[in-house]
Amino acid sequence: MRYKLAVIPIPVFLIILYFLYSGLNKDPTLIPSPLIGKSVPEFSSTTLIDNKIITNQNMLGKSYILNVWGSWCYGCSLEHNFLIDIYNTDTIEIYGLNYKDSRENAIEWLRSKGNPYKKIIFDSDGDIAIDFGVYGAPETFLINENGIIIHKHVGPIDNKYFNDVLLPKIKK
């Protein structure tokens, strides 16, 4: 009886190994989200800069991009200049979700690098991000005028990705 119990750790280990291996093979930036086709989760928070209340209702009416970022996040600094380009060309509005950050660091970061966001939701403890299924910063969601999530991308976005993948979906 006892002898047979000693076998248990082996399948447990194999199962864990399988998940680790599959995680390794899947590009962590290509992640299907269960939220695609569904509404933006309900939330209520404050905006980063002027500390006003913002909820999911405030963002309805126009399609927009929701970009999850933090001043601590290296990938975010990579895509930042491109977000500024979008802002300058006025293609689509960008909202920010400031993730696991402190207000002062985030504001200083925007001050030195420029602010492409229409409004930024402040989410210092990451609670809203959990509802969005955020896995790590940066992440980008494409959301339509009815507040339905159309697309999700994990990792920095660039000009090519925007033109090839996001723009066709925006135009639809």
């Binding site: 006892r2 000693a6 750790p9 082996i10 280990f13 864990i16 680790l20 899947k26 269960p34 002062e104």
Partner: protein, 646 residues
């Protein structure tokens, strides 16, 4: 020159590690003493070689040799010397080299402190260490070499990540690694015993010291990391359930379970097979942690450079080492199962429950950490679980463990008289409940149930452990108190201090979590604000220059009852090279409270965003950890085991 010598030494060490490993296959051909001498000397030589190549890397950092890619990407001429030194382990390549250095240090310690362990077991242990060393050395040489060159040679380096330019970060990684890598000793012991198929009580006493030592270092390492987060990240928090934090916490939980199951194995000769499995589990979790941190499959707040290829290499090694030891465990462990009867009121049973809960907790945290991977490979999308999951599951599973600490200490082996136990502890439990109730209702005027539960259980543990420690005074006729005090067995001091530490820590955590005040406001120079009992006055902001950053330093004065208490100087630093802005919070720590001020944004000429925290009793968290570590040291140096052997 540094490159060539560094690489040469690492290659020789790898070859010698292979020799060390091959000894395990030469049992039949070479005599024991010769094999022993061979292993022992090899482990010393490997240690010296790795130490020398590590020193060369340190030297390269100190003389700003930017021809090394690793130095160029992690240092800078204007960096202070102490940070040039700690930059050695500031990124992936150097961390792994430090890891190997510590692994070779532990393996050289095995023959030095082998005690009563027979030579044949020591030889096997060192051989298995050899294969671990071999893997990491090959890993360094082929995919993480800190001695790689860069051309053209840059004039200056990219600077060390400013987050890491903090005194806490100088010693945090080495101490954490000593603990982390220290789990390899119980692992190689477990494998050697499984190969040998035989175990003796003396060996378990010996193993217990090693386990306590790595437990102590792991505890110091984790708490330093936490202390660093509290002081440096500027969020006012100290634990975030981040994958990297969990990676160090899971081995800690497993080794804590091991520590307790070894007590039973040593004193009663049972749970031996379980202890062996826990030893394997603990080291597996350390390797898994290394994999999680280095592979980049989980995104972490700790911004490390990641590389899936390195991850694959670690994963292959991990599956070979852990897989083969589990198969070995399956085929051999039946020899190590012993039976002895014990009742449900025995110490054995309580420690069994303790182990059960600690193991379940470890797996619950593992599940939470790997959750995004699991859901993604089952095509459920990537979902992460956050602090709410961990906080809930951890406190729910830990409450029974904390509650059982007192009964575990007071019960006897084999069978305890339930009535006398409940009479002794019932009184203490009653007083704890009353004190906690009075404290909460009259001091905080609050009745949150979970806080009440936490504080009363913590008091229960603290009071019962303190009484246990001084119990000796009840039955002594010695008049000299000092002499009696010295005669308390150090094993009792060890477990009492560690348990009191846990209690103190729980009070610190619960009270500071539930009764903190936080203000985030705009202050004009000269204005004042009241937080709890303290008035904070915003005096001024001054510019400050340092060799590699410029900073704006706020000046705040605190008054209590209109009497000046202390000044705060929170800073906002801009690092010249990476252009990063860092918040340096100013903290005044007292036993009863911490006041924590962070300087925010300059909104208009004289008005600034200021963040102030008032955290009651958060210091108890660090005191609690300190007591646990002190208890650990008493455990390492306790003499009781040798007395038992006589």
């Amino acid at each position: 020159m540094i490159t060539e010598i560094g690489n040469l030494f690492l290659s020789i060490s790898a070859t010698l590690s292979l020799c060390m490993f091959s000894i395990i296959f030469l049992k039949k051909f070479i005599d024991v003493d010769l094999r022993y001498a061979f292993c022992k000397n090899l482990s010393f030589i490997v240690l010296s070689l790795i130490f020398l190549s590590f020193s060369f890397l340190v030297y390269a950092f100190l003389i700003d040799d930017f021809s090394l890619r690793y130095v160029a990407s992690n240092s800078n001429i204007s960096l202070e010397n102490i940070y040039k030194f700690s930059a050695v382990w500031g990124a992936h390549e150097g961390s792994i080299l430090l890891w190997v250095l510590i692994l070779s240090l532990w393996s050289a310690c095995i023959p030095l402190f082998s005690g009563k362990i027979p030579k044949r077991i020591v030889i096997d242990m060192i051989s298995i260490m050899g294969v671990l060393l071999l893997f990491f050395l090959v890993f360094i040489l082929f995919s993480s070499n800190p001695f790689d060159r860069i051309f053209p040679i840059p004039l200056n380096g990219k600077d060390l990540n400013p987050l890491l330019q903090d005194p806490g970060l100088i010693i945090h990684p080495p101490l954490l690694y000593i603990g982390y890598v220290g789990t390899s000793v119980p692992f190689v012991f477990a494998v050697a015993v499984l190969i040998d198929g035989h175990i003796e009580t003396e060996w378990i006493s010996w193993l217990r010291k090693w386990v306590i030592s790595s437990w102590v270092f792991l505890t110091i390492g984790i708490s330093l990391g936490s202390w660093w987060a509290y002081h440096e990240l500027g969020w006012g928090g100290w634990w975030f359930w981040d994958p990297v934090e969990n990676a160090s916490f899971m081995p800690w939980l497993a080794i804590t379970a091991l520590l307790h199951s070894l007590i039973v194995s040593e004193k009663r000769g049972i749970f031996i097979s379980w202890s062996i499995l826990l030893s394997i589990l603990t080291f597996s979790l350390s390797l898994l942690g290394t994999f999680l941190v280095r592979s980049g499959i989980l995104v972490s707040v700790h911004a490390f450079a990641n590389d899936p290829e390195r991850g694959l290499y670690i994963l292959i090694f991990l599956s070979l080492i852990i897989g083969s030891s589990l198969i070995l465990y399956f085929s051999r462990s039946s020899k190590l199962i012993f039976y002895r009867e014990y009742s449900v009121t025995s110490k054995e049973f309580i420690l069994l429950i303790n182990n059960l809960f600690l193991t379940i907790t470890t797996f619950a945290i593992l599940l939470g950490t790997l959750y995004p991977l699991i859901t993604s490979s089952l095509d459920l999308g990537k979902i992460s679980v956050g602090a709410p999951y961990f906080n809930f599951i951890f406190s729910a599973l830990m409450l029974p463990v904390v509650f059982l600490m007192a009964p575990a200490v007071y019960s006897n082996w084999s069978k305890t008289n339930y009535n006398s136990l409940s009479k002794k502890l019932g009184k203490i439990l009653f007083y704890s409940l009353v004190i906690a109730y009075v404290w909460m209702n009259f001091y905080y005027k609050s009745d949150i149930f979970i806080v009440y539960l936490g504080i009363s259980l913590a008091l229960f543990t603290i009071i019962s452990s303190t009484i246990k420690m001084f119990q000796i005074f009840d039955n002594t006729f010695e008049k000299n108190y000092f002499k009696t005090l010295l005669s308390i067995p150090s094993s009792i001091i060890a477990n009492s201090l560690a348990h009191i530490g846990i209690g103190v820590l729980i009070i610190g955590v619960t009270v500071s979590t539930y009764y903190s005040s936080q203000k985030e406001i705009i202050m004009v120079k000269g204005s004042e604000i009241l937080i709890k009992d303290t008035k904070i006055k915003f005096v001024d902001v001054e510019g400050k220059l340092s060799s590699n950053y410029t900073s704006q330093m706020g000046i705040f004065d605190a008054y209590k009852n209109d009497k000046y208490v202390i000044s705060f100087f929170p800073e906002k630093r801009t690092y010249n090279i990476q252009k990063n802005v860092m918040t340096e919070a100013a903290i005044d720590s007292r036993l009863m409270r911490d006041i924590y001020i962070a300087l925010g944004e300059n909104i208009a000429d004289d008005s600034w965003v200021v963040r102030i925290y008032y955290k009651p009793f958060i210091q108890l968290l660090w005191y609690g950890v300190g007591l646990m570590i002190l208890g650990g040291f008493f455990g390492i140096f306790s003499r009781t085991n040798s007395v038992n052997n006589n």
